[in-house]
Amino acid sequence: MSGRPPLRRLAPGLAVLLVLGALARGVGRVVPALNALIVAIALGVVVQATTGLPEWAQPGANRHKLLLETGIVLLGAQLTLGELVSTGPLVVALAAGFVLFGVLYVETLSRLAFDLDRGMRALLAAGASICGVSAILAVAGTIDVDEADVTYAVATVLLFDAVTLVVFPILGTALGLSGKSFGIWAGVSLFSTGPTAAVGFAVSDTAGQWATVTKLVRNTFIGVLAMGYALQHTRAVAGDTSTRELWYRFPKFLVGFLVVVAVTNVGLLSPAARASIETTTDWLFTLAFVGLGFGIDVGEMRAAGARPIALVAVHLLTVSALALLAVTLLV
C-alpha cells in the first residue's frame, strides 16, 4: 500500500472529504440555521461511529491538517490593513484594547475559576476575543491541541453567534444607541464576522457598516495572536530554547499567512480574487472539519462539561458591558 504513488494513495480519502464536505455545505445552504462546519464535523463523527473510516480512505483523510493550515495561509487575504487607517484611531484603540483585555481575561479566568487546560484556554481566548472560528483555527494550528478541544471551542463560539444574532438587535433598539455607537459596540463585542455584520444591519445601514468595519479591524489581530501563541507554545515544549530549535518547532505556515497579508495589502489581489480566495478558504476549512470529525472522541468532549460555555458567557457579558460603557463615553 505504501509503495503506491502518493496521489493514488491519497486520492480516495481526499475524495471522501470532498464528498462529505460538499454535503455539509449543501445542508448549510439549505438550512441556514445549521452551520456548514458543524454539519461537517457531525458527518465525520457519524461515519466514524457507524461504519468507521475504511482503511483505503485513511491516508487521504489524515491530511486534513494540511488542508486546515493551507486555509489559514489563505486567511491572510481577508486582512486588509487599510481598514485600520480608514476607521481612525478611536476604533483601532477600542478594538486593540478589547482584544488584549479579552485574551488576558479568558486566560486568567480559565486558570482561576474554570480549570481549563492550556490548549482550550488559548482556543477560547482567540475565538472570543478576535474572530470566532477563524481565530480558533489559526491558533489551533500553531499549538498542540486535542481535536476534540478545537471542535468544542468552535461549537461554543457558534452557539453564542446564534444567541447574539437574536439578542443584540433587541438590545440595540432598546438602548436607543446611534447607528455608529451600536455598530462599534457590536463590532468590539461579538465573535464571528458574518453574524456581527448581520446584527449591525438588522438595526440600520449605518450600524451595519460600523459593525463590519470595527469587526474587520479586530480581525487584523489574528496574525499577531497566532504568532504570540506559537512563540509561547514553542518555548514551552522546546527544552532547548536556541533560535535553531525554536525555528524548528515554529509553525511554518504562519510565514505563508504573512506573505499573503503582504500580497493582499500591496493591492495585487482584486476584490473578486479576494472573494474567490475566501470561498476556497471556506471549502478547505469544511473539508478539514470532516477530517477532524473522524478523529473526535465524543467522550472527551463530554468530559469537558459546560465549563467552556460558561467561560465564554462570562467573557461576552463582561466585554459587552465594558464596551457599551466605552462607546457611550467616547463615541
Binding site: 493550515e69 493551507t70 495561509v73 489563505l74 511554518k252 505556515f253 505563508g256 499573503v260
Partner: protein
C-alpha cells in the same frame, strides 16, 4: 548530451525536487499550496 541523456537529467531533477518536497515540514507544504492558490488568483486577476 543525447536526447535520452537530457531526459534522464530532467527526470533526475524532477525526482530530486519531489524528494525534497516530501522531506519538507507539513507547514511548508501549506505555504506552498496557499501561495500557489494566491498566485493563480493574481495571474487570473
Amino acid at each position: 548530451m543525447t536526447a535520452s541523456g537530457e531526459e534522464s537529467t530532467s527526470g533526475r531533477t524532477a525526482l530530486a525536487a519531489v524528494a525534497w518536497w516530501r522531506r519538507l515540514d507539513r507547514g511548508w507544504h501549506a505555504v506552498g499550496f496557499g501561495l500557489l492558490i494566491v498566485a493563480a488568483h493574481v495571474l487570473v486577476g
